[in-house]
């Protein structure tokens, strides 16, 4: 089943910036995809389109069978709340609140009651091996731990699709490895995942790699059918 489908998707910004110039792309359920390419090549733009944070200038983007261009703002919000999880390079945690509350926010807009949000948040934090940091605030966590909290927040709602924009970009190698290990675990459980990365080793370790340059796909390779 196709989870992500882009057809001739373009994205232009005022001033003649063409961030995406007609991208065709399909990602099936359960795939783990690396998106690579030089800076400014349109990787984040692509991820925003897939994550329905943005709409294409032309062409179509379908996520989980929904045509993103045809959905209202509130429907898109519901799609993100229930089916998509995001992880960003800069974590975006709420500074004054502890790990449990930060992770529980991942369920807030899906209409889950507070008690259940908190208990599921604890489970998610256990899964990213932060069971011993439940009541720590972001300022009391290392960069790698912060990113694991952000991953817990993204996965607490059991999304079908996880989108990560340079999740290891702000981390040292060891922390980055832990994060990628979690990504592989999620993949093993059937989650569809797209990861933007500048790290060649990480890219090489993923089953599928899509390479971008100047807003277009220049290569799309799989390392053996067995991987997906």
């Amino acid at each position: 089943m196709t989870v992500i489908e882009l057809r001739a998707a373009t994205k232009s910004y005022p001033g003649g910036v063409h961030a995406l110039r007609g991208v065709d792309l399909r990602v099936g359920q359960g795939e783990l995809v690396a998106i690579v390419g030089p800076s400014g090549s349109g990787k984040s733009t692509l991820l925003n389109l897939i994550g329905t944070l943005d709409r294409p200038t032309s062409g179509t983007v379908r996520v989980a069978g929904h045509d993103v261009g045809a959905l209202s703002d509130s429907r898109l919000a519901a799609l993100r709340a229930r089916h998509i999880g995001f992880v960003f390079q800069h974590f975006h945690l709420s500074p004054g609140r502890d790990a449990v509350d930060n992770v529980a926010d991942g369920l807030l807009y899906a209409g889950v009651p507070l008690k259940e949000r908190r208990s599921r948040a604890r489970v998610a934090l256990e899964r990213v091996r932060l069971g011993h940091r439940l009541s720590h605030r972001p300022s009391e966590l290392s960069g790698g731990e912060k990113q694991r909290v952000a991953i817990a927040r993204a996965l607490v709602g059991e999304p079908d699709l996880l989108l990560a924009d340079e999740p290891t970009g702000a981390l040292d190698t060891a922390s980055g490895e832990v994060v990628m290990q979690l990504v592989h675990e999620l993949h093993a459980r059937g989650t569809t995942i797209c990861v933007i990365t500048h790290d060649h080793e990480i890219a090489a370790s993923l089953p599928r790699r899509i390479r971008f340059r100047d807003g277009a796909v220049v290569s799309d390779s799989r390392s053996g059918e067995a991987a997906s």
């Binding site: 089943m1 989870v3 359920q29 925003n48 994550g51 944070l53 943005d54 989980a64 069978g65 929904h66 959905l71 703002d73 509130s74 429907r75 898109l76 919000a77 519901a78 799609l79 993100r80 709340a81 229930r82 089916h83 995001f86 960003f88 390079q89 800069h90 975006h92 709420s94 500074p95 004054g96 609140r97 926010d105 991942g106 807030l108 807009y109 899906a110 209409g111 009651p113 507070l114 927040r153 079908d160």
Partner: protein
Amino acid sequence: MTGRVLKPARLTAADVLRVGAVGLRARRTRVVLSALGIAIGIATMVAVVGLSMSSRADLMSRLDRLGTNLLTAEAGKDALGQEVKLPKNAVAMVERIGPVQQATATAQVDVRIRRSDVVPEEQPAGVTTQAARADLLTALNATVAKGRWLDGAGERLPVTVLGAVAAERLGITEPGEKIMMNSRYVVVVGILSPVELVPQLDRTALVGFPAAEQYLGFDGHPTTVFERSPDASVDDVRAVLARTVMPGNEGSVKVSRPSDALAAKAAADKGLTGLMLGLGAVALLVGGVGVANTMVISVLERRQEIGLRRAIGATRGAIRLQFVTESLLLSALGGTAGAALGAAATFAFATAQGWAVVVPLWSLGGGLGATLAIGVLAGLYPAIRASRLEPTVALHAA
């Protein structure tokens, strides 16, 4: 993944409040400062209303106690500008008016008052002598602060009872001291408490009618007649009072109702109350601008938070609601503190004045209502701006 129709979940009221409070908890100093403006405005308004109501309630209870059924008929001047004199039997004639329950009189007596003859002092400013009937005290609901009143033999003896101000001006604090009236020593036997209904009496030295005639050369003609009748008959009595005390020359008699002066004071206070309320409203408005300012800055600073919330599924509406709630909580915080402060100020001041404390519920309710309205108004524009932020742009600014 399903092709089901997507419907965003609604946050529960508790979640709306919780999310609205997140931004406040993270920035406490700023919250306190911007709530302070609202608090000052609301406190001013609640205190102004409370104090004016308390003072009015006090006045009303005084009027209740003193009665509003007292009328006075005072001798004035005739058509030629000559001082007229009421007939000696004026009180008896007034008593003959059907509804009249009580009538009494005082009379101006031309006397020179001094503290003593040793030091040639001037007559203390504003202290005059009046002859008073023994039943004057009960008719006016007045009381003696020290010593006794001119009843029994006191009415015929060369003794005096001083009004509160007169005693002070003469420097007399205890009964038993003497003052000079014309060239005769007169013993002060009593000092009155302030006479609320007829404050003019506070500045007089009162002497019994018979004593005034015998010792001070008084001709026995009253100058002011006081009467009380049942409340329902006050207007009827008023219509005939002048004619009764001065048949044929009623134009030279001034009839008045002393309680009207007290009621007029209550009305005069209203103007000041209005002015103070206006000041409170200005403070409140400035407070509202402060809240709006805080909210605008808050939205600018929290673009990333907004972008993240949109990414985890917040609709534009949810973002709008979050910031309106935040603004509402902020100003409700100020409003509640202000209402408590205003009520406390009213309590302290009214208690110090010896008034009963009245803090009308409508003023508290109105204050909080105004607060909420300001909260919504101040929060609406920043909230709309927040909801229009593109999530990608908001997340960008890392």
